[in-house]
Amino acid sequence: MKLVRYHNSPLYDPSANYTSLRDEMDRLFDVAFPALSTLQREGFFGELQGQFPMDLYQEKEAVVVRAELPGFRKEDLEVEIADGVLTITGHQKTESKGDDAKKAGVTTQERRVSRAISLPEHLTLDKIQATYENGVLTVRLPKSEAVKPKQIAIDVK
């Protein structure tokens, strides 16, 4: 078990210099009462805060990021890597005509969510795979050869 300082957590937003007490309390409540957190968010999709839950996994050959982004079209999602920071953005504009004769005209709904995480080093950036299934985006970032555990045969003389 490695002890890692909380602020060095990979999902710690590098653009923020500190985590406010309020954020800390929000986080605590989100973890303890997941159902409650949906209540406090405004708007159905809760996109006003531009946040969505994310998981980060390590496996032997790769680092895997899973993000819950329900209701997007594939082309509305963007995965970008620059300078060791992975940014996932969802941007969607939907235009719906009023179903009612009373509400004539077109309603435009726009939602934009974005999150950035800093990545560990030693990843093969050109072999990244991203899939979107059941509203969950999975990004697989293979580790470069240098950090993969390797078996080294020892010759016994």
Binding site: A35, M54, Y57, V63, G135, V136
Partner: protein, 122 residues
């Protein structure tokens, strides 16, 4: 609003969470949208029993062997939404659609509550 969350009398066997949902009214139906990311079509179930509409969705993702979680925010709980539907709904015509973690349920209004025009005679 005629769709109310029904208090569950029996304690659920497994821990579940109520998905976020929204109900819109159109001319001849109510359209319910619920966010159930991580749920496949085969693990989603919508049942109508008497006056109760139940939607259950199981998350199909399990952490594969050999993966270590570094950071987790996605709750590993299944979804369960229990709503009361009264006579204003035509329960035979309920349609369900699941697309990228968004469930859309169309609950047609019963004939009795549909708006209708009455011709004026004479």
């Amino acid at each position: 609003m005629s769709l109310l969350t029904k208090n569950e009398t029996k304690a659920p066997v497994t821990r579940t969470v109520t998905p976020r949902y929204d109900v819109r009214e159109t001319g001849d139906a109510y359209v319910l949208t619920a966010l159930v990311p991580g749920v496949e079509r085969s693990s989603l179930e919508t049942t109508v029993d008497g006056e109760t509409l139940t939607v259950t969705g199981r998350r199909t993702f399990t952490v594969p062997e050999g993966w270590t979680a570094v950071h987790r925010e996605i709750p590993q709980v299944d979804y369960r939404l229990v709503l009361e539907i009264d006579r204003r709904f035509n329960r035979d015509g309920i349609k369900a659609e699941l697309s990228q973690g968004v469930l859309t349920l169309t609950l047609p209004k019963a004939e009795a509550v549909k708006p209708r025009k009455i011709e004026i005679l004479g």
